[in-house]
Symmetry: C2
């Protein structure tokens, strides 16, 4: 049985709190806001319930280091949940680690947590084992990932999540401009995402750039009046052509 | 009951053939390759089974016009399946139309055709009604879309399908380079695509560009060594910033 304190009240903290609460492997889960007098709150928590086995810091990247300073005196594991912050942002000399869920969390939106990849890291083997035990209690997808790899994963996530979503939005804008419902694109969006479960993206690629159809490319560039959209079209088309050894 | 002749043997033709074959509304479905002596093949078909009600031309964009010339003498509907070719590429003076399935079709990959949006267009009201009847026999998502709108839809499809898939591939490349399995990104990809069913893309947007986190943006640009990837990162980041009224 594992005792966990969660520091933070944002989306990640809330989702972790919900899923930890449901697990039989976790005997105690406490959620503490990082705002206000954190040291007093932690002291009170420890006086009442004793130390937790793991303190998970789920706060904005730029305050992880300062929040973690309040835990310097514990001899328990201190782990943050960030994709882009190195493990050694946590206080030196402590038992430190990372517990990074690679998923996009939205307020009030349920997620199948069992399939959320949890990327863990720790300084010591025994701490890694405990983080792994916690992760395995809530997900079937647990991965040992070092800080360098995690930074790359986070970068890849910016591409497949942030950039993809922005491209959806451009699709939405094009539809709206021509009095079409965005709904009409949704089955295509779903199938595009689904297809890569069976086919590597490089083999799933289709379209004018892939088949080097310069006539369609130039027509579509003419169609685009928004300069941002035009630039994105050009850049991605050039990159697809390049991938298959061709030039714009 | 509708009699259909499909001209073409590619992915779209094969998927339409499979789904038409299953429908009770379609009494006859014949599939004819556009290669070889098409006029003789069509003549033979008509001598044996009579005219079809609808001839669907599912061939590459640049041969639609020439293939359709072989049907000039029919008084039945001639429709093509292309997103980007205007209806009037079909022979003047004929009953012409469009039957455009807005989906990506892959060989040997089953698709839930009931949800595939079918965009139809015709010159005459009665022809539109017949195309609608055919479309409704195989899909619950039937839309009257004119040639101008269809061209825009096709452009939007290039964004949400071709460009999105290329971005998945970049995610794959980043993973491979850092000895990570691409599988680790798949739940995020699925959730990103799924989320827009409940949330408009503009509201689903997250990430460093959305929150104007220039520190992370500049770190991630440093991380990227591939010039294409760097260019794509810059272009999409600038476009996200711009969307929310910010600058790179």
């Amino acid at each position: 049985m594992i005792k966990v304190t969660l520091i933070g009240t944002g989306n990640v903290a809330s989702h972790l709190n919900a899923v930890f609460t449901k697990s039989d492997e976790i005997s105690e889960i406490e959620m503490i806001s990082s705002r206000g007098d954190l040291s007093s709150k932690l002291e009170r928590k420890i006086n009442n319930n004793g130390e937790s086995d793991i303190y998970i810091i789920a706060v904005a990247d730029d305050v992880i280091a300062s929040v973690s300073q309040h835990l310097k005196n514990t001899n328990k594991i201190i782990a943050h949940t960030s994709g882009s912050v190195a493990m050694d942002a946590l206080p030196e000399g402590n038992r430190i680690g990372v517990f990074y869920p690679l998923q996009t969390f939205t307020k009030d939106r349920e997620i199948d947590f069992q399939s959320v990849p949890l990327c863990i890291e720790a300084n010591k083997r025994e701490d890694l084992e405990l983080l792994k035990k916690l992760a395995s209690a809530v997900s079937t997808s647990v991965h040992e990932v070092n800080s360098e790899q995690r930074k790359s994963l986070h970068l890849a996530a910016v591409f497949v999540n942030n950039f993809t979503n922005h491209i959806y939005q451009i699709g939405n804008e094009i539809c709206t401009k021509h009095e079409l419902s965005f709904d009409i694109l949704k089955p295509l969006i779903a199938e595009t995402a689904h297809k890569i479960n069976d086919l590597a993206p490089i083999d799933a690629q289709t379209g004018p750039a892939k088949r080097e159809d310069h006539k369609t490319i130039s027509k579509q560039l003419d169609q685009l009046k928004n300069e941002n959209h035009k630039e994105i079209y050009k850049t991605l088309t050039a990159s697809i052509l390049n991938t298959y050894g061709k030039k714009l």
